[in-house]
């Protein structure tokens, strides 16, 4: 498969003509095989559309071969454009639909590729909710949204909830876990009672989920030892963690963001003092989507972290 594929489209069409329009584009590619790996429906506003399109452009076809972007600013008329977006190894289908929420509901449902996994991404800063999201949730295998403010009823048994903020903490979770891989470091864990977190910008959601994860893993019943603070001096992206410290009773384990994507780790326990540097790049939105979409099933770690985060002051 060539590595320098060119995008095909966008082609203006309507809901009924969208599938045929996509087929015409496929005919131009001379690609014989396609992977029907899933649908991702991104619900957004026109001001966020470029950011959403950019994120989806980096999402490999292994996660979703069809991307449907619903722009919820329009009116009764459903404007539809279709295109084939080049990805590593091939193309993914993209449909952009612009209409009001009610019209989008009747437009998106028939365009979902059948018999495969459906991911629904609430890709706007507004509080997630509404009839359109509720309808899509019935067909979804996974909802990706700000989980702490989600305004939906209980999700069905086949639908899981996740959050890009959770994905953004994945590297930091791995980094903290690594500090306790040596058995003697793990032995210090029961003595640790304080968790201090700092985050860049004003988005504390990832830090709250991170605190929930660490606290539940350590078996803490309450949030008494948890401190979450903004770090205005951090140059990392809004919401990224910049500092983690677990401490107590003569032991201290710390991760501090350094220049660029470096994180400096320090472990102090007993007679040991050890420092190391880790490469911990911030996840782009596309990488975050890939992380949560790789395993759309319910993640117990996330569920328990979310439950704890909801109880944080």
């Amino acid at each position: 498969m060539p590595g320098n594929l060119q995008p095909l489209g966008p082609v203006k069409t309507d809901v009924r003509g969208a599938t045929n329009a996509l087929e015409s584009l496929w005919d131009e590619t001379h690609v014989e095989s396609r992977a029907y790996t899933g649908n991702i429906v991104a619900l957004t506003r026109s001001r966020s559309l470029p950011r959403v399109e950019e994120a989806l452009a980096t999402l490999g076809g292994r996660y979703a071969g069809r991307q449907i972007i619903g722009v919820m600013d329009g009116d009764e008329t459903v404007d539809v454009t279709v295109s084939l977006v080049p990805q590593k190894g091939g193309y993914v289908e993209r449909l952009v639909l612009d209409a009001n929420e009610e019209q989008l509901q009747g437009a998106i449902l028939p365009l979902l590729r059948p018999a495969t996994v459906n991911h629904v991404w609430w890709a706007t800063t507004e509080r997630p909710g509404g009839a359109l999201l509720a309808e899509l949730a019935e067909l979804a295998d996974q909802i990706i949204a700000n989980a702490l403010s989600l305004d939906l009823g209980p999700l069905g048994p086949h639908c899981s909830l996740t959050d890009l903020g959770w994905a953004r903490t994945s590297g930091w979770r791995e980094a903290l876990a690594q500090l306790f891989d040596p058995h003697e470091a793990a032995a210090a864990l029961p003595a640790l009672r304080q968790l201090t977190l700092r985050y860049a910008g004003d988005n504390d959601l990832p830090a709250r989920l991170y605190a929930g994860w660490a606290a539940t893993k350590l078996g803490w019943r309450d949030a008494e030892g948890v401190v979450i603070e903004a770090d205005p001096a951090s140059s990392r992206e809004n919401g990224d963690l910049s500092f983690v410290r677990l401490s107590g009773d003569g032991a201290e384990f710390q991760l501090t963001s350094d220049q660029g994507n470096l994180v400096r780790s320090t472990s102090v326990y007993g007679s040991v003092r050890r420092e190391a540097e880790l490469y911990l790049p911030a996840l782009s939105i596309g990488e975050g989507l890939a992380f949560v979409m790789a395993q759309p099933e319910q993640n117990e770690n996330f569920v328990s972290a979310l439950d704890f985060a909801r109880r944080l002051p």
């Binding site: 498969m1 014989e32 095989s33 396609r34 992977a35 790996t37 490999g60 076809g61 292994r62 990805q87 590593k88 190894g89 091939g90 993914v92 994945s170 590297g171 979770r173 791995e174 980094a175 903290l176 876990a177 690594q178 500090l179 306790f180 891989d181 040596p182 058995h183 470091a185 793990a186 032995a187 864990l189 660490a214 893993k217 350590l218 078996g219 660029g260 994507n261 780790s265 472990s267 040991v272 050890r274 190391a276 540097e277 880790l278 490469y279 911990l280 790049p281 992380f291 790789a294 395993q295 993640n299 117990e300 770690n301």
Partner: protein, 504 residues
């Protein structure tokens, strides 16, 4: 699988496959395999964060070399190997900083004292624990002495952490030498510490054979003598000797491909469902297949095996030398460069279903494929007869799976035509990882599923012993196929009537 269960932060984590902090000790650190394959594979794992902050590499070589000179070699290897992932930021320097070196003769005890001292130093500095993985990327003649010296120096002892040994192929050159090598290794190492590497098993599409067989219901019910007519396994190479004539004269295609790579593919296709997806359960089933395979004593070889050697020919529009004209090859050599063999598995599942395996040098293209060829429908309702369905696993290139079946062509008449439903791995939109990175990570984790066990290796040698013995005699008919063709005619005849090799 060894897991740091004492670390609650690991539980339920997406990346379950994180090894404990450890040091990878590579014997033959300046060799070709290390530079082209091992270092890029380890770097990829390290850059991806899979090895953790406590990971280090310790190169061991005969050449005296400072640590800084070795780090320069590491940088050069990573920047020149085609297998290196894109290097992010300052990672080349950071990775070089975790690389260390010890120089010395592999037979001298002082070398091993220095290795022990360096491991302790790394442990202190990086919290690597006492875990070490020793990779023997050296000529096979050195396997025993390195193993023995490691034992003498107490470096195989698992008193404080784990110690493991990866042994490269060839694992012996016949049954007797493989048994002797196993015995020598077991003088020092327990079987659970020994990882015999066959990089074919690290390939995604080889593992996909198990995934497709045991992860889907629709294939297993027809995976037997009631539905399968025969199985073909092809591992074709377009290259000739490329300067390796000296090695090949000793090895030949039976040792180079049949005893290891082809036998591994064969066992994965023929094995029964394992009781669990773990190392011993899977290897138990693979061994059962080899034990069920009808022996090939010398007197049966001419009936079930075909040897070939390429003569001059043409390939890719260029003239290609014959094997005997290759560098370091005897002008009257009878070393086989092609093998086709018919294996018969005498068990309830496969009785009467032949498995045809073939491999050769200077064939028309580089391709590895497993094809399960099904029986024809019992009645031909349609004009023109019926064809056999084929489920094919393409191991390389264009990794994927295809299913061939018959479909009605459009029109008034019921004319059938063969069509192919094709799945390509690249449709996933992801680069396939190096088999070495998968296998190295598995060895660090302690997962031996993809490493052949002692009895498996010995059974495979036993199966090919008769062929080796019969073919040790000169053959006046060689060379018997032209470079750039699909091997000798006798390989076609081996299949018997109404069968043909897949057109690849």
């Amino acid at each position: 699988m060894t897991q740091t269960l004492a670390n609650p932060l690991r539980s339920g984590m997406r990346r379950k496959r994180a090894p404990e902090p450890c040091t990878l000790v590579i014997f033959g650190a300046t060799g070709d395999l290390t530079k082209r394959k091992l270092l890029p594979a380890v770097f990829g794992l390290w850059q991806d964060g899979q090895l953790g902050a406590g990971f280090s590499v310790l190169g061991v070589g005969r050449n005296p070399m400072s640590e800084e000179e070795f780090r320069t070699l590491v940088r050069q290897s990573l920047t020149t190997s085609k297998e290196t992932d894109e290097i992010e930021g300052n990672n080349l320097e950071k990775f070089a900083a975790v690389a260390h070196y010890v120089g010395g003769e592999f037979g001298e005890t002082g070398t091993y004292d220095a290795i022990g001292a360096k491991l302790r130093e790394i442990q202190e500095a990086r919290g690597a624990g006492d875990n070490a993985l020793f990779y023997l990327s050296t000529p096979p003649s050195l396997f025993e002495v390195i193993s023995q010296r490691l034992g003498d120096a107490g470096l195989a002892s698992e008193s404080d952490g784990w110690r493991r040994l990866i042994v490269e192929k060839p694992f012996g050159r016949d049954l007797a030498s493989a048994v002797a090598l196993n015995d020598a290794l077991h003088d020092v190492w327990k079987e659970h510490q020994i990882y015999r590497i066959d990089h074919y098993l690290g390939k995604e599409t080889v593992q996909n054979v198990l995934a497709i067989r045991f992860g889907n219901l629709i294939f297993e019910p027809i995976w037997n003598r009631s539905y399968v007519e025969h199985v073909q396994i092809t591992a074709a190479e377009d290259l000739g000797m490329e300067g390796r004539g000296g090695y090949y004269e000793e090895a030949g295609v039976v040792r180079d491909m049949l005893q290891n790579h082809l036998m591994q593919l064969f066992t994965l296709v023929a094995m029964e469902t394992p009781v669990a997806f773990d190392a011993n359960a899977i290897r138990d089933e693979k061994v059962k297949v080899l034990r069920s395979t009808r022996p090939i004593p010398v007197e049966r070889v001419s009936q079930v095996a075909v040897r070939g050697q390429y003569g001059p020919g043409t390939l890719y529009g260029e003239r290609a030398k014959g094997y005997r004209e290759e560098e370091k090859v005897a002008p009257d050599s009878s070393t086989p460069t092609f093998v086709a063999v018919k294996l018969e598995v005498d068990n309830w599942r496969w009785s009467g279903v032949p498995f045809f395996l073939r491999s050769g040098k200077r064939l028309p293209k580089k391709v590895t494929e497993i094809a399960v060829v099904f029986k024809r429908p019992p009645l031909g309702l349609f004009p023109g007869g019926t064809e056999r369905n084929v489920l094919a696993f393409r191991i390389q290139p264009d990794e994927g799976v295809s299913l061939k079946f018959s479909s009605k062509t459009p029109g008034q008449e019921n004319i059938l035509r063969e069509v192919v439903m094709d799945f390509r791995y690249d449709a996933f939109g992801a680069e396939l990882e190096s088999p070495y990175s998968r296998l190295l990570l598995d060895a660090m984790i302690g997962d031996a599923t993809l490493f052949p066990r002692e009895d498996e290796v010995q059974q495979a040698w036993e199966l090919v012993s008769g062929i080796l013995e019969a073919w040790s005699q000169p053959d006046a008919n060689l060379p018997n196929y032209a470079a750039g063709t699909w091997g000798p005619d006798a390989a076609d005849e081996l299949l018997g009537p109404d069968r043909r090799w897949r057109h690849l």
